[in-house]
Chain length 236, copies 2
DNA sequence: CGTAATGTTGACTTCAGTCAAAGGATGTGG
DNA sequence: CCACATCCTTTGACTGAAGTCAACATTACG
């Protein structure tokens, strides 16, 4: 995966075995950090549907996603699932969440993640404070996103949730009005992210399509046809 | 406010004007950090219902809560509100959330917060990496709590939400089975935290009381009578 | 006290969930 | 290349948990 202009810092580091491509730490880390991280990076390739981390396992590794898409989720004993986020290239997974992972991560599409031993990362953070500063800034952004998602889950209607979701994805991906946006996750994943059922998600898509807010060229792409109207539909 | 044994690091620092009491940075900061912070701390007292920070305002200050309780919340243009958390003494408010606050904070009870200029904090973080390390660890814990709340809001029933809320409060406060736990927030605050209406919260309280899981000596205290049963009711 | 704010309860409504069936896409083996 | 199987998605009919509206009770407070 190459750096996207929108979120790229220009920094690269060779990641042993990542198909001989340099690891592009888009958005996540700056040049100085990357030089630090380079020495401790290991690649991991994942087929779609494969789990990268399991909730409850010892949190020995952290990752940067370099290609593909991951979903992070929590499960209840009876199988109910809440997806807490979709990760795209440049995102950091497994920040310093204590001793164990507090969520699971699974590939939505075939993905490549670069793995770092947590202990090595901690050593490097002690050595290079700028790295820690950057991680704090990432954590702050994640926290702000989590709070926005709490508002969505606690107070928005099904229609508002779907509109917010599409706008958020488009903004992260830098996709504009009229452009086809890939939607690699299933309806079930979208439902579990938005706190809805697949049927409700499907119906909301259909309504928005009939209202000409969006087009659905196929199940795994969307086009936002009327960005302003979609903003109105999102409720804020 | 004195340090609670459960979450106290023993560190104190004189905070100019905090009623001549030392600022007890319980839980949030360690001794070394406190010496650093002492030089830039200013107190602020708040009556119940008074706002400490407003969503959208320039994020010039950060705070540690030393006494009382705050609620953090986000509003929609039509007035719908989602409370994203209740802060208790020792909590840090306003971490490095970019240029503007992404939520508002308001006192639930009369409260005292110690204010730090963000710019001074940033300088001190650059100077004392251990301070930044501690803030990253706080941010990670907040993130884990936010993810648990997403599961609650997206997938739990009203009964499960209330049970989870009471267990979470009791655990943070170190309150055990049979002990009266203060519940300073209104039913409306609880509803806006749990993504419910006040009527649904009230009904769920009544059902749990009738089932003898809890007692309600008055509107602003709860006793957990059957911790195990409440855990079952929480769904996980 | 008396008044306003907060909390509880009841009756009814509604939005999203459940259950069911059919339509499309994807993939495998003959 | 097609037949078949499986999975995912859409749509429809119905249900139900929580929301809304309303009345009343209780509490807090000037």
């Amino acid at each position: 995966m190459d750096c996207q202009p929108a979120n790229c810092c220009g920094a690269r580091v060779d990641c042993a075995g990542c198909e001989a491509r340099p690891l592009a730490l888009c958005g996540a880390l700056k040049a100085a950090d990357v030089q630090v991280m380079g020495s401790i990076a290991y690649p991991r390739k994942l087929d779609a549907g494969k789990q990268l981390i399991h909730e409850g396992d010892p949190a020995d590794d952290v990752f940067t996603l370099t290609d593909g898409m991951l979903k992070l989720y929590k499960l209840m004993p009876d199988g109910r699932r809440q997806i807490t986020g979709f990760m795209i290239p440049g995102d950091f997974i497994g920040l310093a969440y204590g001793q164990s992972y507090v969520y699971s991560a699974e590939a939505v599409t075939p993905s490549t993640a670069c793995r770092f031993r947590r202990s090595a990362l901690l050593d490097k953070m002690a050595e290079y404070p700028e790295l820690e500063h950057r991680l704090l800034s990432l954590a702050s952004n994640e926290l702000a996103a989590a709070q926005a998602q709490m508002l969505l889950l606690g107070r928005k209607s099904a229609r508002e949730r779907l509109a917010s979701f599409l706008l958020g994805l488009a903004s992260r991906r830098g996709v504009g009005e009229g452009d086809a946006m890939p939607l690699p996750m299933s309806r079930s994943d979208i439902a579990d992210f938005l706190g809805l059922t697949i049927e409700t998600v499907s119906r909301a898509f259909t309504v928005m399509r009939k209202e000409r807010l969006i087009s659905l060229p196929d199940k795994h792409s969307v086009i936002i046809d009327d960005h302003d109207a979609l903003r109105d539909a999102a409720g804020d």
